[in-house]
Each structure stands twice: as C-alpha cells, then as structure tokens.
C-alpha cells in the first residue's frame, strides 16, 4: 500500500487522540446493513508496481499501435509528431498535479499558460477571443450551438452535412433533446448542399466544418454574409487546426464562433480521448462564451497577473441559471498544445502545414491514378475522401491484415447511409514516410484488382 503514508502506529495514535476504537467506528452513521452488504469477493487485493505493469502491458500488447506500420487514419483524431519537450514539460508535477487555478496568487503558472493558450487560439482561428478550452471538439461544437441559441434567442440550429457525424450527434444530444430545433443535413460528400437557401429569420446558427469531414476546404464568406443578413451566427468547426497554418482561418471569412479539436497538436490520439476543445469568438460575444476564461489584471503591488474571470456565468454561482453545466476543461492538454505551438512558432507552424499539404497532394495524385478511384474534394489540406469502386469496409479490413491502416471507411462514420459505403477517408501527416505511401498505393491497387 505504497500510496498510503500511515503506519500502524500512526493510525493507533490518531484513533487514540479521537477516542475511537477503530476506523470502522467512524462509520457509525452508516446503517449496519449497508456496511455488511459491501463485500467484494471478485476484486483482487493490492499489487506491486511490477505486477500492475505486467497486467497492463499485456493488454497493451493486444493492440496494434497506429505507428507500428503505415497509418492513414484521421477523421477527427490526428497523429502528429509531438516533440519530446512537450511531454517533459506537461509531466512537471507543478502543472500536472495542480488544481484548477482558483487561488491566483499560487497558480500564476497555469493561469499565464492558459492566457497564452487563449491568445494562440485566437490568433490561429482569426478570432478576437478564446476560452481556456473545452472537453473536446465535439462538446465544443455542441456548446457553440447552445451559445448561438442564447445570443440570438432563436432555437434553430442547422448542421451542415460536411460536419463530422459524431460532432453532429453530440450537438443533437447536448441541445437538451430539442431534436426538432437541431437539423442535421444529410452527408454531403460532393459539397453541393445548399446552406444559404436554408438560413432564415428563425435560424440561431449554421454549423459548418472546414476542411469538412470529407476533407473539402470550404469558402465560408458568402455563407457568413447570408447568416448575418438574417441575424444568425456562423459556427465553423475545424478538426485539424494545423490547416490554419496554411489556409484562411474561419475568422477571416466571417465566422462568429470557431471551435476545433486540438488533440493532434497536443499529444497522441490515445484511442480518442482526452482531446482538447478550442473555442473562439468575437469580443462582442465574450460574455456569452461557455467555459473558463483567464483574464489579465494587476496585484496589490501593481504587478501584472492573471485570474479566472467572468466566472459569474459558471454554475458555482448561477446554479440553474448557468450558461453551461460544464465544470472542468482540458487544462493539461491545452498546455501541451500551447507548448507545441510555442516550439513551432510562426515559421514552424506554417512549414509543418505546408509539409502536410504537400504529402497529401502527392498521395491524392497517386491514388487518383488507380482504376476506378476518385478523389472527392478538389481543394483539401492533409485529408481527403476517396470514392472506391467497391465498399471500403472490407478493403480496410483486408489491408489491416497486411499491416496497413488504410483510412476510415464510410460505414464506420455513416452506418445509416449505405450509399457512402464506398467512401474511404484518408489522412497523411509529417509522420508518414514515403515507404508508407507506397504501401498504401500498392495495397489499394492489389485490393481493388
């Protein structure tokens, strides 16, 4: 019981101080029947570090790490190279084992880092302000819809068919079951849906993704203007924020709220969690923003310092009138992302984006030469949808048996849309060596012949 500091003498001394015969006596307010019912015959007793490590390592060994061979999976979870510095710094106990910075005098490290994070997020999204992070991209998307409903006092949320289907589902769920108020359009692999024609005076917001889930880069300018003409907000979702190093950010195209999943820049995919939700908006809307905010101020000696601010919007004070029931954010993952961006800087970030795009253009060009294979989006960043001549699911399974994780088949994300069964989402990053690209091209060629 290496995590427990008391020895038998400590417990005996403390019980004696209390005048109690045993620890069990302290539980006398618990009905005896309740105490007796609690037996745990199937649970093992404590184990040493080697035993725990062996147990978990055996489970880990039953998985195929994505990086063990060629991997082209994206669709909202990205594998980028994370520099050694990032993990070394976030594992400093002063960051990792700190609580939420409610005592600013002894939490300036977390607070300043989050203030810097907020600034970085605002810069890359092209927005004026950002919060200190949300749970993940999907919940940030849902919260954006709720915020738009508060700001516009309208109920209708229109979700583009280019939005990641899991984000759309989360948005529907978190919109308080007001399903009729959230309209999710059918998947839009060809980029032909008419969003502008659906915006009207009842629309709280349109939620659109760029690059969308099929990889397509979308120009939001006209849509933003249409939303604003009707008094609606435009919410832009970004599942691969590295794209913002190369393409025009949603903020420059008129978006009112930008949400993103930052996991790819912060750490490994970790089987889908934890991630980190980015949430940015215009200054005029900042008091409607959900989540925690760090603001700059001064201390009694006039020195610059940082505090959590505008917290009256939170549930601790407003209780049933809070803007959101969210309590924690993703502080440590936000910190990791911020450290990575600090290392990259302007040069590194834009260069990494160019590298990713160049690899994707090369891969798309090669795959398009395969008979019967079409690359769906004309414009993309580092990920794109392919249309195969056969259902993609079995192809992915076959290639997995040969050690190639070929991408995400349509049936995985849209099981209710059999017409998307031939879609395969393929992503490439700086972690993909040329040999892996060869392996995918050759593997697909073989599987399709």
């Amino acid at each position: 019981m290496r995590y427990l500091p008391h020895g038998p003498a400590d417990r005996a001394h403390m019980l004696e101080t209390l005048g109690e015969p045993s620890i069990e006596a302290l539980y006398r307010d618990v009905p005896a029947a309740v105490l007796q019912a609690a037996a745990f015959p199937d649970l093992p007793d404590h184990q040493g570090e080697r035993a725990v490590e062996a147990h978990l390592a055996a489970l880990a060994a039953r998985n195929r790490p994505a990086g063990a061979g060629p991997c082209f999976l994206g669709a909202g979870a990205m594998r980028h190279h994370i520099p050694a510095v990032v993990d070394a710094l976030v594992q400093r106990g002063e960051f990792m084992t700190a609580y939420t910075p409610y005592q600013p005098e002894i939490s300036q490290g977390t607070l300043q880092a989050l203030f810097e994070f907020q600034t970085q997020v605002a810069l890359i999204t092209g927005m004026e302000v950002a919060n200190a992070s949300m749970y993940d991209g999907a919940s940030a998307c849902a919260e954006a819809g709720l915020m738009a409903q508060r700001v516009t006092r309208r109920a209708r949320v229109l979700v583009s068919g280019g939005v990641h289907p899991r984000y759309a589902a989360t948005t529907v769920t978190l919109a308080d079951g007001a399903h009729e108020a959230v309209e999710v359009l059918a998947p839009d692999p060809l980029g032909i849906e008419d969003l502008i024609g659906r915006v009207n005076h009842e629309t709280a917001c349109v939620i659109v993704q760029t690059p969308d889930v099929f990889g397509r880069l979308r120009d939001l300018t006209a849509l933003a203007a249409a939303c604003h003409d009707e008094g609606a907000l435009l919410v832009a979702v970004v599942t691969e924020p590295l794209a913002l190093g190369l393409v025009r950010p949603p903020g420059a195209m008129g978006a009112d709220i930008v949400v993103a999943e930052g996991q790819g820049l912060a750490g490994p995919p970790s089987f889908g969690g934890p991630g980190v939700g980015l949430f940015a908006t215009r200054a005029a809307l900042m008091r409607q923003m959900p989540g925690r905010l760090v603001g700059q101020t001064v201390d009694e000696d006039g020195r610059r310092g940082f505090v959590l601010t505008l917290s009256t919007r939170e549930q601790h004070i407003r209780r049933e009138k809070a803007t959101s029931n969210i309590c924690t954010n993703a502080g440590l993952v936000a910190l990791a992302l911020s450290i990575h961006l600090a290392l990259l800087g302007e040069e590194g970030f834009t260069r990494l984006a160019r590298t990713n795009h160049a690899l994707a253009v090369d891969l798309a060009t090669r795959l398009a030469r395969l008979p019967g294979v079409r690359v769906l989006p004309q414009a993309f960043f580092n990920e794109f949808a392919l249309l195969l001549p056969v259902p993609a699911g079995p192809v992915v399974e076959t290639l997995a048996d040969r050690g190639v994780l070929a991408g995400v088949p349509g049936e995985r994300l849209w099981p209710d849309y059999p017409e998307l069964a031939e879609v395969l989402l393929v992503a490439v990053t700086e972690t993909t060596p040329p040999a892996d690209i060869e392996a995918l091209v050759d593997g697909l060629k073989e599987a399709l012949s």
Partner: protein
C-alpha cells in the same frame, strides 16, 4: 520587500509572456522545407502572418519551467480542498497511459486491432460496477458534470418510455448540493426544487417525504453530503422515492469516503457519476482533463449513451448506432463525445485500482475519514465546527470563530498561503456562513496533518487576537499578492495584443497589455 533590478527574487523568477519573447525567424522545431510543388487549396490560402512568436527550444523549456514554479501542486504540498479530493497522483499511472499500445491508438482503427484497449474499458467498467453494486456503466462522460448530464438524461429517457415525462417535471436537489446539480437538472429541462437541510446538516427527512410525489422525476443527492456528513436516511428516502416512481441520482463527488466500504446500490442509487480524477487518482492537470463514468441501475442501463461496449463471440465491439443498439434491446439517449470517452484517463484509473486492490481501497477510504476526523478534533476548540463529529472524509467549519475580528474566511485562506498550504474550499457549501471545507485525503502523512493543524490553530489565535492588518495584507510571500478581480471583470483582457506602437490598430485597445511590472 527589497526591489531587484531583474524583478526576480531568488528562486522566485518573473517570466514575460511568450509573445514578449518573440525572436522572429527562430523556431524550436527543425523540419525540412517541403519541395515546392502544386497546391490544392482552392484559392483559400491564408493571407498575412498569424502572429505566433518564435522561440528556440531552450527558451521554451525555460519559459514553462519558470511558469511551473509559480504553481502550487499536490506534489509539492497539501491541498485540503473540500469536495475536490486532491490525492497523490501515482507516476505508474502516467507510464501506463503512455505505452504505445494505448497512447498511439487511433479511435477509428479496425476493432480487431484494438481488443486490448476495449478490454481495458471493460475491466475498468467491471471495477466500477463492483465497487458501486450497480450493473452497468457509461464510460464516455468527459467529467463529473457530463456524468450528471448522462445520469439525468438516462432518467429522462426512462421516464419518456414510461410515458411520464410530461408529468414528472421536478428534480429535487439538496440545498447543500454542488452548483452543477441544479445547473445539470435545468439543462435537462427539469424544474429544480431545493430540499432544505435539517439541524443535523442532513437533508430534511420530513420535507423530503412531504415533497415526494407523482410530479417528481428524481432527487440529486450527494452522499456523504457536502457538509462531510453521511446521509443516514438515504436508503429509507430512496425507498420512498422509488415507491412513488422517482429515481435517485447520487453525486459521486464524495465517493472517496465510501469506496471499498459502502456501495451506492445499497444507498438506493439509480445512477452515479464517478470522478476518476478525484477518487481514482488521475491528475487534475490544472483543470482537466478528467473523466466522469456513470454507473446505472438495471432500469436505466438500456438508455446509456453511445457508444456501448458489447462482448460478442469474436471479441469486444463498440455499438455506435441507434439501430445497432436497438437490435440488442437498448435505446441510448444519444452520444456525449466524439469517440469513446477519456481513454487515457481510464488507463490511469485502472492502474490505480489494480495497485490498490480491494484491501487498499478500503484502507484508503478509512484513512481519508480518519484524517478528516483528526483535523476536526484538532481544530474544533479554535475554529467553529458546523456539526459535531464524526465526519466522513471532510471537515466543515464556519466563520463564527472570526466574528467581530473584521477578518473574513477569504482573508484567513490567503494567510494560509503564506504558511505554505493551499487554502481549503471556501464559502461552500452555502448552508453555513463563510464555510471552510477541509478534505485532507488519505495521502497526507500524520506529520503533515500535525503541521497543518498547528498552522490553522496559530492563524485562528492570531485572528482572535486582532491581527486584522496582517490578514488583509496576505499573502505577502507568494509570487503574487491579491489580484484585482474587479478590474479583470470590468475591463476583460483575455489575450495578449501587440503594443499600439508596433502598428496595431487602435480599436484593439481592449486587448491592451499592462507592463510586466511597474513600481508603485
């Protein structure tokens, strides 16, 4: 305090913002420039620079190392934050979560390539079900508040299926509850009604029984409650509500007092979220990420959100669609996260559970309760205990001992900072005046507790002796003195912006940045 040229004071090192350390053209990452080639950006190239600062690798390491040293942390000292369960975070958890076989898994890999990860989720689920006695668990809630949402949405779905959603509109919430409880109930469309506490600090039994009826959907109850007291009537009250057709949501924030000794099922719970970042030792990370798996009774289990972990002959599967769920007799209320929840946190929690085991968990909850009572006993004659002991894992005091001193609970807390302790939870629960809620957890040694008690006794005596000025000036030894929260909220500055002289437009003045330090 003697001024220094640098602004540093010994090991207390000042640090500018990243943006003030910008060396244009420098990067902390060396990557080759890609070969020039065609692009396929559809004319959507970024126009103009982003404005990210350039720093070398050593500059970045120094920046964050200096920032880190301006934080209190559980590694460095005791965090007696009531209702937060700030216990030691084992490093083995971190190593396990970083195994490539866990960390480097993509959530959409073919399921046959991730059977070990699904087995981790199943094994964690088995522990949580066994420890609470409830048959099912939804792992995907990202934190406690989302777990509450999960539980209440499951309750709502069950009521809908019974055709009672329109009639059962009310959720009863204890007056002493966490603010998230009423926020969650309201977010789920319920009408919130508070149930008062009685003189013993427990939910008023008579008031509760009088309120139970056909319009009540659920009660949200924390046990032990936020006063640190066990709700002895919980089984009986749960029975009354169950008989009337309602559900019991148990807030698992205080599970650390019960784990391995008392099961939620025996207290009548139908649903309870479990904060893995509290009870099961995963780090708080300065505000996340956490995880809030939610255990569910048989009546609520079919409504658990997608994805549903399911065992079939070929192995573990994730059921991701409504149709797939319905085919297995389930009716999920929706989905809460993009993928399968906070998997990295699951690995850490499982590592902890395996390390502690049945006997270790029981010892841990017992030690947590012992420590809280040791503090209650050690301070009761100088601070004002709100209720007589024994308490459970946290001890509640109010500010009567500060009466007529001109010193508030906040002043007292700030003075603790100068003594090297993180303050306790303040002004919560709301049911007592100027609350001081102290939760030591089981991972503090007797020596630390003795020092904490000595500090608290000394501060209480100094407060009674009228040392008001010193308390109002505290903290004086921290990296910062008290910060002006009014200014921060009246004129919010939420990001750095370049100083106006460097050519920024003047309408960005709301982002202006104060000088790093100014001599008053």
């Amino acid at each position: 305090m003697t001024a220094t040229v640098s602004g540093h004071r010994g090991l207390d090192l000042e640090e500018p913002l990243l943006f003030e350390l910008d060396t244009p053209g420098v990067s902390g990452i060396d990557e080759p420039e890609p070969e020039p080639g065609p692009t396929r950006l559809g004319g959507l190239e970024r126009e103009g620079p982003i404005g990210l600062p350039g720093l070398s690798e050593p500059a970045v390491v120094r920046h964050y190392t200096r920032l880190s040293r301006r934080n209190y942390s559980i590694d460095a000292g005791m965090y007696p934050l009531g209702s937060c369960t700030m216990k030691y975070n084992p490093r083995l958890n971190e190593r396990m979560a970083r195994l490539p076989g866990f960390a480097d898994l993509h959530p959409l890999q073919p399921e046959k390539t991730v059977q070990g990860a699904l087995a981790v989720m199943a094994e964690l689920g088995r522990w949580l079900c066994a420890l609470t006695g409830l048959p099912a668990v939804a792992l995907s809630p990202a934190a406690g508040a989302q777990g509450e949402l999960c539980g209440l949405r499951a309750i709502r779905a069950a009521l809908r299926e019974r055709g009672e959603l329109d009639t059962r509109r009310v959720v009863l919430v204890a007056e002493s509850a966490h603010g998230t409880n009423p926020a969650t109930a309201a977010a789920c469309g319920f009408k919130v009604e508070a149930v008062p506490a009685d003189a013993r600090g427990r939910m008023d039994r008579a008031a509760f029984r009088a309120r139970v009826g056909a319009d009540v959907a659920a009660v949200m109850l924390t046990n032990p409650n936020t006063c640190g007291l066990f709700e002895s009537d919980a089984p009986e009250l749960a029975r009354a509500l169950h008989d009337a057709g309602g559900f019991v949501y148990m807030d698992g924030a205080n599970l650390n007092a019960l784990v391995g000794r008392v099961r939620a099922v025996d207290l009548g719970a139908d649903a309870m979220h479990i904060n893995l970042h509290k009870t099961f030792s995963t780090p708080h990370g300065g505000g996340g990420p956490g995880a809030g798996p939610t255990v569910l009774s048989a009546a609520l289990a079919p409504f658990a959100p997608l994805p549903v972990l399911w065992q079939e002959e070929a192995g573990w599967r994730l059921i991701e669609t409504m149709d797939g769920a319905r085919a297995r007799g389930l009716s999920p209320f929706g989905r809460l996260s993009g993928f399968h929840g906070q998997f990295g946190v699951f690995v850490r929690a499982l590592a902890y559970l395996l390390a502690m085991g049945r006997d270790g968990l029981r010892q841990a909850s017992g030690d947590a309760v012992l420590n809280a009572n040791y503090i209650l006993a050690g301070l009761s004659d100088v601070l004002s205990a709100s209720y007589p002991g024994p308490c459970m894992h946290e001890a509640l005091f109010d500010d009567r001992f500060l009466k007529d001193t001109g010193i508030t609970t906040l002043d007292f807390a700030k003075a603790m900072i100068d003594e090297g302790f993180h303050p306790m939870t303040m002004y919560f629960p709301l049911v007592v005046h100027g609350a001081l809620l102290i939760e030591p957890t089981e991972t503090e040694s007797r020596a630390t507790l003795d020092q904490f008690i000595a500090v608290m006794r000394d501060l209480a005596l100094r407060a009674r002796a009228g040392d008001q000025a010193a308390f109002k000036a505290a903290p004086r030894l921290a990296p910062r003195r008290r910060l002006d929260e009014t200014q921060a909220a009246r004129h919010p500055v939420l990001r750095w912006a370049p100083p106006p002289s460097s050519g920024a437009s003047s309408d960005e003045s709301s982002f202006r940045t104060a000088p790093l330090s100014s001599n008053p």
